[in-house]
């Protein structure tokens, strides 16, 4: 019995580690000329590293990247990302010049599920479904869009960017 339990937990940990190793490996290396920080790895699932188990310090309760359109990799800066949780608590954060945004768990920890909407200029886009538990937008919004992925988060349904963000 004790041996079985030990084996069960050992295998459980081993499987979890394998999955995590795979997720970390799939992220690849840092892009050239972009140092690790608030501007790095746009579009990637931030929670793989910023999920509390390292290697990054700190934990994000929600994070992602906003792009212009479904087909564009151009980021949108200054988008207001509004979050409301199942208890009605709200929080807002702005995307930076890389389109990235993140909420540290020390600032706001939603009571799941949560709902999100994006605001830019006079345009508002509300996510149709709740976020049940996924802290990385790219966990569900990975590219390419498919039968099991929504594709990246984008602000505008039309194809004309109002302005392109640049990080200088």
């Amino acid at each position: 019995m004790r041996v079985s339990l030990l084996l069960f937990f050992t295998l459980g940990i081993a499987c979890d580690d394998t999955r995590r190793d795979r997720e970390l490996s799939e992220l690849g290396g840092e892009a050239a000329a972009v140092a690790p920080g608030e501007l790095h790895r746009p579009g990637q699932p931030c929670g793989v590293c910023h999920g509390g188990a390292g290697p990054a310090h700190g934990r994000f309760s929600l994070s992602g990247t906003v792009f212009w359109t479904a087909d564009s990799q151009a980021p949108v800066a200054h988008t207001v990302v509004r979050i409301i949780d199942s208890l009605g608590a709200q929080y807002a954060v702005r995307s930076n010049c890389a389109g990235n945004f993140f909420v540290r768990d020390s600032e706001f920890e939603p009571h799941w599920p949560a709902w999100v909407k994006l605001e830019f200029a006079n345009k508002t886009l509300e996510m149709r479904s709740p976020i049940s538990r996924e802290r990385s937008c790219a966990g569900c919004h990975a590219d390419p869009a498919s039968a099991s992925s929504v594709g990246h988060v984008y602000m505008s349904a039309d194809a004309t960017p109002l302005l392109e963000a640049e990080c200088n």
């Binding site: 009605g88 709902w115 479904s129 709740p130 976020i131 996924e134 569900c140 099991s148 929504v150």
Partner: protein, 180 residues
């Protein structure tokens, strides 16, 4: 503790009794070994599916392919592998697939609940998990006696409460005095 080997005579008697007994035990009870289980009707399931899709079927929950309970549709997994999650509306084939997945969970319990016209519905895992009566990472998604809960449990009675299904709403509720 010291074990004694049985004598040859005792072993001989055991084999004489055991042989026929095992033969009887292994004989089929009837020619048809299948068991007929009852399940709520697919015809009534579309309205229930719509409730489950939004509340439970997102990609980060039961709209993911690795789950035992898989809910197909616009907010999660697409059945045909071609439609895009978040794209076109849920299809009837996806409702079929969700139905198959739902009635495949604890089918013997579901059969008893269905045969008893939905009595003690919380015996069935979909209700007990949905109400968070047993450990459920998603918490209470179907609060007892809420429209969503009535929608699902009425389906188990054989008469879906369409009004409850239609009345279900699952979205942000801001605090008093606040806007969303």
């Amino acid at each position: 503790m010291q074990l004694r080997a049985p004598s040859l005579a005792r072993a001989h008697v055991s084999v004489l009794w055991l042989g026929p007994a095992l033969a009887c035990a292994c004989a089929p009870a009837s020619d048809d070994p299948s068991v007929t289980l009852r399940s709520p009707l697919r015809a009534d399931f579309s309205a229930v599916s719509a409730v489950l899709e939004l509340r439970c079927g997102t990609l980060d929950c039961h709209g993911a392919p690795a789950r035992n309970l898989r809910i197909f549709g616009v907010y999660g997994l697409r059945e045909n592998g071609l439609d895009v999650s978040g794209g076109s509306a849920t299809t009837e084939l996806e409702v079929d697939a969700t139905y198959d997945s739902v009635v495949g969970l604890e089918p013997e319990v579901l059969s008893r609940v269905t045969a008893q016209k939905g009595a003690s519905a919380a015996r069935w895992i979909v209700i007990s998990k949905g109400r968070n009566l047993e450990a459920h990472r998603g918490g209470a998604r179907l609060t007892e006696n809420s429209p969503a809960d009535i929608c699902l449990t009425s389906w188990l009675t054989g008469a879906v409460d369409s009004a409850a299904c239609a009345a279900d709403s699952f979205g942000p509720v801001p605090l008093a005095g606040e806007a969303w």
